[in-house]
Every structure is written in structure tokens, then in C-alpha cells.
């Protein structure tokens, strides 16, 4: 069951004329507001734009900016652009995996962190880079990972 207030979806829809060309923008706005695309909102979009649900589902699974699953309170984005990759971003990802016990694309059991990899944040000069919510961390070394994550509260698998 999704116990959420969807009145904002209506507001988003009314912001756009009911034309197919605004579909992506509408879905992005919903994603931004709810941090994911609730299933019920897809049905509202279907009714508003008269686009089949299958096409909406197709869109929501095609574009990386859209997600059908709720994300964690803090979203960790580790850049795996080429510059970061050759400066060992994979090791950073591995370290976060170890600390939080999640793989990229998933959320911790307590809903606190989501881990994502992104393909270049344009900050290649300070690679490897990771971003938590809107805060940037440049030249990240694996030994820094635990301390950085701890800034966001106690870590689940940490011993007391």
C-alpha cells in the first residue's frame, strides 16, 4: 500500500498542457517531488495525457533519471566517469558497499542511504568524486569513506 498524498501530482499535471511532449518533464517533476515515481501517479498521468500505462512504464524504466522504487534519505552518487574510473572510483564503490552492505542501485534496509553510480559529474579535476545529497567530496580515498558516511549519522552495520 502506498500511503501518500498525491495532491502534488495533480499540481504538477496542471502545470503542463495535456500533450505527450510534456510526458518526460512531468515524470521528472514527480520524481523530484517524491524522490521516485509512485505507481498511483503513473495512473494519474495516464488519465491526464491519455497515454497507455505500458508506455509510461516503458519511459519510467528507460530513463535513468526516473525510478519506480523509493530512494533513501541520503542519496550517495559515486562518479564512475572515465576520469574517476582511472583514478580508482571502483575501489570507492567497493568500500561503500562494504560499509553499508548495499550494491549500487539499492537502498539500505533502514532507508537511510541509497547508493548510485553516475557517469561523470563534470568534476574530473578533483576525481575521484562522490556526492551525498548535494554535497561534493573530491579526491576521495578509500580510507575517507567511513568518516564521510558517518557525517550522516550512525552506520547500520557499525558496532556500537
Amino acid at each position: 500500500m502506498e500511503l501518500q498524498d498525491f495532491s502534488h501530482v495533480r499540481a504538477i499535471l496542471e502545470h503542463y498542457p495535456p500533450e505527450r511532449r510534456f510526458l518526460l518533464a512531468i515524470l521528472q517533476d514527480i520524481q523530484k517531488h517524491y524522490n521516485y515515481i509512485p505507481r498511483a501517479s503513473l495512473e494519474m498521468v495516464r488519465d491526464y495525457l491519455d497515454v497507455p500505462l505500458s508506455k509510461l512504464y516503458s519511459m519510467a524504466t528507460f530513463y535513468k533519471a526516473l525510478s519506480l522504487k523509493p530512494k533513501g534519505k541520503h542519496v550517495i552518487k559515486v562518479c564512475d566517469g572515465t576520469a574517476c574510473h582511472i583514478k580508482s572510483s571502483q575501489v570507492i564503490i567497493d568500500e561503500i558497499k562494504k560499509v553499508l552492505n548495499i550494491v549500487p542501485g539499492t537502498t539500505t534496509g533502514d532507508g537511510k542511504f541509497s547508493l548510485e553510480t553516475v557517469n561523470c559529474l563534470g568534476s574530473c579535476a578533483v576525481s575521484p568524486v562522490m556526492v551525498i545529497d548535494d554535497r561534493f567530496y573530491g579526491r576521495v580515498a578509500p580510507s575517507m569513506v567511513r568518516d564521510i558516511l558517518a557525517e550522516y549519522g550512525r552506520l547500520e552495520n557499525e558496532r556500537a
Binding site: 505527450r20 566517469g81 572515465t82 583514478k87 580508482s88 575501489v91 559529474l121 568534476s123 574530473c124
Partner: protein, 603 residues
């Protein structure tokens, strides 16, 4: 006091500096200056500008007209800058840039190799102006080209001018821009559309982002000129959603341009109408492909279609459409203002003008650069880029992103232009230039790009989807020590099929990173397959880290840097790595000052 005392501080707020918290520096400066009792006749303006280029040394700021530039500025440096430089015209020595080629600190950007060798056309205003100010843009000659075109040129003459300039599309393939416009203008159907591709999806590339953030009006002006030439009244900018600053600045610029009559009805009193709207990209690399991008604007999944009927004939909503990328559009006003002949005098015979690159990876001066076409890779990497970081050895440079290839040291003297890069199996692409050193594994690089493409392929056609998947499987095997002797042959053969038989440009160029590394670094592949070792020490399954006892001084830096507690030892005695705990991150190797941490193959 005279006018000369009006000074401007330009604080770089490009992506590199921003991630180094340059906005904090900007805010602190603003606060300090408003509080400081600066003499009334000295007016200091602070501007948050777009990328000034030398991202490696960010945050950076420049003081004009004194032509002073400071690098690596921290918030804590601000009081001193205000006190010494702004109030007392003294230089803060410590913040000056150290020019390696002359081994001294320099005051002006012009004295550096990094800036001295560049030529800025597309980036002419980036880092110089406040992107939020249309006055800044106009002050530097902005919208003059549009005015000129509307009052002096027929649409056909605009196209002829662009054709004559020799401008080729900066988005990758290098199709002649004028010819594209001509084809579109010839179509009878209407309406027609112009599109700006700002979906810059190549990892390791941020040129277009910097132009959109730092000089949004140049793109708007270019599009308006293009629209006039091909008879379009509606334009779309497809901008990556992650580039929220670019979107914000562009939205603001469009608003301003409308207010000033550079967009909208009867532009500058002519009978030409044109307006632009922004479409946010959905996060799909394939949408850099023009037909996929158009599908995305139409509100569909970004799947390309076969391009046997070109988009200049049937593009967006089946109508004639001209699509160019950000840098191409930004070049248009320059060509109109300074003339096709002048533009054509820059560059090589078949590649005219300049090209913007994001120079990143294992190079000293990472950053955003613009150089005349035809400059050699060596000049770019060793002069502008300052050579390889940490004194390591140059190994390869990757151009063209996931569609490009890796160019080895033996070819580093080739000129950088569309055709030379094509010839060596790479491509210009949109301008990512990633420098790799001996600690980069070329097989891993090839695998990296294929993994990227396996996620980013739209999955529509068989060769691309299944071919990439299987090539990736082989590369994963090779990197993990399961490579088979005939794998290299299979890779080359599948590569050919994917290249030739795929539906769109993504698939057609997807094998390039594999094919070029196979061509130039075959020995490294063979080491992985036959000897089960990774010479660069990157592929974890094929690498063992160890400490050379003869070289270890027992300083303990390696132990401090180790995130997994795998290093043990007593001070001033050789340390040792516990292989069972080692996660092979290379931190110890980076930390060691004596080169005592080494790798060897597992075999």
C-alpha cells in the same frame, strides 16, 4: 582617483571549482568587501563566472584589469586578498600560479603555458562574464551577429557564410554544418525546428556544460541565427537534467533575451520570429544520438530510428530539423562577426576553427581548454596539460568518449583534427580527452566503456545489445583471469559486426575502445590471457600488492593510508602487506614516497 580603480574580481564557479567550494569563496569575498571600508572611489565588482579552465588549481579567481590570477583559493585566504590585493595593491605571492616550464610564479594567465597556447572562440566569454548578466554579454559584442544577420544577410547568405567557414559539427561526427543547414532550408515542409543538443553524456567530458553555464547567450544567439537561415521559428535545447546550473542559467538567459527582443516576435524590429524552450534530458546516453534525442523531446523512449531518411528532411515530429550541439551553436556568432574567411584561416585544411576539450585523467593541468584544430596531442598534453601527473609515464590518450579510441604514445604527434583521429581508429567526439599513465590498464579501460555502453545502449537492435553484452562478457573474463586464447579473435570479429550492422551511431562506434586497445595494446591483452597478469596492477584478480623490503624505510605512511588494515610493521623496519586483507585499492602505492609498494601478477 581615476577610472582605473574600478576593479573586478572574477571568481570561477565552473564545475571543478564549485566542487572545491568556490561559491563559499565568492560569498566570503562579497561579505568582506561590503563590510570593509574600501575607499569610496574604488568600486570593486565581484562576479561568479563560468569555468576559467584550470580546474586542477581551483578554486581560482582573477582580478581585472590588473591581470592577476590566484589559484587554490580557500575561504581563509579571502581576508588577505581583500586586505593586501584589493586595498593595498600587493600581491599574495602564495596564491600565484607556479609555472612549471619556467619554474617560477606568474602573475598573469598569459604567462602560463596552459593559457598561452590556447585560442578561445567558443569559450570566448566563458570565465570572463557573469552568465546571469546579458549586459556583460552585450558589452563583449553579444547579439551583434544576430543584428548583422537580420539587417544585412538573406537566409541564403547566412548559409553560404557558414558553408564557406568550413565549420563542422562539434558533436562528434563532424558533419559540415553549412551543408546540413542548406539541406534543411531546401525542404518544402514546415514548420521546421532547430535543436541544440546539450545532453553531453560522454563520461569525462564537460565542455558543453561549461558553455551553457558560463555563456548561455552565445548558444541562444547561434540558434537564432541558424533558425533565421533555415526558416525555423521554434527551437529546443535538450539539456542533461543533472546540469541544473546549466538549465538555470539558460532559463534565465532565455528570459532576458526575450525581454530585450532577441527572442520572440519581430526580433530586433525585423519580421523574423523565433523562440526557444528547454527540454530536460532523462539520463540516457543514447539520447545524444539525434533521432533518439528527437524521440525524447516528443515524450517517448529515446530509441533511435534508421537514418536512411535524414532528420533535415523528417526530424522532430516528422518535420525538417537541424540539430547541432552546444559548441557548434556557440561558434556561429563568431563566424558571422569575424567572417568566414577569418574562421577558415584557423585550423587545418579540412578541420577549421578551434575545438574545446576537457583535458582530464592523469595529466597535471586538468581543465577545460580550447585550441586551434591541428595542434598535436603532444602539445596539448605536455604543454597545455603540463605532462603526466606525479611524474609517471604517459601511456595513452582517449578521445571521443565511449565512441572513441585509445591513442598510444607512438601516435602522440598526430594533429588533432576530425580526419587524423578517425584514421587512427578514434574520433573527435564531443571533446573528452582522457590521459592515461602506466597505472592504467587498457583492458580495464575497454571493459569500462563496454560496461557503460551495455547500460546505455537502448537495446533495440541485436548487434548492439547482444554484441556489446558478449564482448563485455569476454572482457570481464579476461580481466578476472578466465580469458581464453581465442578470445581476442572473437572480440575483433564481434567488434566488426557490431560496428557495421548496428542501427545507430552508438552501436556503430561502440567497439572502438576495444578495437583500438586491441590494435595498440595487444601485448597487455596477451599478458592478461596467457600469463594471467595485469601489467598495470589494476585488475584485482591478476594483481598482488607487495612491499619491496629493500626500498621500504619503515615510515608507516602506507599503513595509515590502508583502509582495510592490511599493512603491518614496526617503525623503521620493512612493512608487509597481508594479502588476505588487501583490497588492492592502491592507496599504499600512492602514499609511499620511496616506490617500495609494487605489484606483481598472481601467477
Amino acid at each position: 582617483m581615476s577610472e582605473r580603480d574600478n576593479r573586478t574580481v572574477l571568481v570561477c564557479c565552473g564545475p571543478g571549482c564549485l566542487s572545491n567550494h568556490s561559491l563559499d569563496v565568492y560569498e566570503e569575498l562579497k561579505a568582506r568587501i561590503s563590510k570593509t571600508d574600501i575607499k569610496v572611489d574604488v568600486k570593486t565588482t565581484i562576479k561568479a563566472t563560468g569555468c576559467q579552465g584550470l580546474c586542477e588549481k581551483g578554486p581560482m579567481l582573477r582580478i581585472e584589469p590588473d591581470d592577476i590570477f590566484y589559484t587554490c583559493v580557500k575561504v581563509s585566504d579571502v581576508p588577505e586578498i581583500v586586505e593586501k590585493t584589493l586595498l593595498n595593491r600587493q600581491v599574495v605571492e602564495r596564491l600565484l600560479y607556479h609555472e612549471p616550464s619556467r619554474n617560477k610564479k606568474v602573475l598573469s594567465p598569459k604567462e602560463t603555458r596552459f593559457y598561452g597556447k590556447q585560442m578561445k572562440l567558443a569559450l570566448r566569454n566563458v570565465g570572463e562574464i557573469d552568465p546571469f548578466s546579458i549586459e556583460d554579454y552585450i558589452f563583449r559584442g553579444g547579439y551583434k551577429a544576430l543584428e548583422k544577420v537580420l539587417s544585412e544577410f538573406s537566409p541564403d547568405e547566412v548559409i553560404s557564410e557558414i558553408e564557406k567557414s568550413g565549420l563542422r559539427g562539434r558533436g562528434g561526427a563532424g558533419f559540415p554544418t553549412g551543408r546540413k543547414w542548406r539541406q534543411c532550408a531546401r525542404m518544402k515542409d514546415s514548420p521546421r525546428y532547430v535543436i541544440c543538443n546539450g545532453d553531453e553524456g560522454d563520461p569525462g567530458a564537460f565542455m558543453d556544460r561549461c558553455i551553457m553555464e558560463g555563456d548561455p547567450h552565445s548558444v541562444i544567439e547561434g540558434m537564432a541565427i541558424g533558425a533565421y537561415a533555415v526558416g525555423s521559428h521554434e527551437g529546443f535545447m535538450y539539456i542533461r537534467d543533472e546540469y541544473f546550473l546549466a538549465i538555470r542559467n539558460m532559463l534565465h538567459a532565455i528570459e532576458q533575451a526575450r525581454e530585450r527582443g532577441f527572442l520572440g516576435k519581430n526580433i530586433l524590429g525585423s519580421d523574423f520570429d523565433f523562440d526557444v524552450q528547454i527540454v530536460r534530458g532523462g539520463g540516457a546516453f543514447v539520447c545524444g544520438e539525434s533521432t533518439a534525442l528527437m524521440a525524447s523531446i516528443e515524450g517517448k523512449v529515446g530509441e533511435p530510428r534508421a537514418k536512411y531518411i535524414r532528420s533535415v528532411e523528417k526530424g522532430l515530429w516528422g518535420k525538417p530539423t537541424v540539430l547541432n550541439n552546444v559548441e557548434t551553436w556557440a561558434n556561429i556568432p563568431v563566424i558571422i562577426n569575424r567572417g568566414a574567411e577569418w574562421f577558415g584561416s584557423i585550423g587545418t585544411e579540412k578541420s577549421k576553427g578551434t575545438k574545446v576539450f576537457s583535458l582530464v585523467g592523469k595529466v597535471k593541468n586538468t581543465g577545460l581548454i580550447e585550441v586551434p584544430m591541428g595542434m598535436t596531442l603532444r602539445d596539448i598534453i605536455f604543454d597545455i596539460g603540463g605532462g603526466i601527473a606525479e611524474g609517471r609515464k604517459f601511456k595513452a590518450v582517449q578521445t571521443g568518449g565511449p565512441s572513441g579510441g585509445c591513442i598510444p604514445e607512438s601516435l602522440i604527434d598526430i594533429p588533432v583534427d576530425f580526419d587524423s583521429l578517425d584514421r587512427v581508429g578514434s574520433m573527435m567526439g564531443s571533446g573528452g580527452m582522457i590521459v592515461m599513465d602506466d597505472r592504467t590498464c587498457m583492458v580495464d579501460v575497454a571493459r569500462y566503456y563496454l560496461k557503460f555502453l551495455s547500460e546505455e545502449s537502448c537495446g533495440k537492435c541485436v548487434p548492439c545489445r547482444e554484441g556489446i553484452r558478449r564482448m563485455l562478457e569476454i572482457l570481464n573474463d579476461i580481466c578476472e583471469g578466465r580469458g581464453r586464447p581465442d578470445d581476442l579473435e572473437t572480440l575483433a570479429e564481434l567488434g566488426e559486426t557490431v560496428k557495421e550492422a548496428s542501427l545507430c551511431g552508438l552501436g556503430k562506434s561502440a567497439p572502438n575502445p576495444v578495437l583500438t586497445t586491441l590494435r595498440y595494446f595487444k601485448g597487455e591483452y596477451l599478458a592478461h590471457v596467457n600469463d594471467k597478469t595485469c601489467p598495470a596492477g589494476v585488475c584485482k584478480n591478476l594483481t598482488v600488492y607487495y612491499i619491496d623490503e629493500a626500498l621500504c624505510k619503515g615510515c608507516g605512511l602506507c599503513r595509515k593510508s590502508c583502509p582495510s588494515g592490511a599493512i603491518e610493521g614496526q617503525p623503521r623496519q620493512p612493512f608487509a602487506i597481508d594479502e588476505s586483507k588487501c583490497i588492492k585499492c592502491g592507496s599504499c602505492m600512492d602514499a609511499c614516497r620511496f616506490g617500495a609498494v609494487k605489484t606483481r601478477g598472481r601467477a
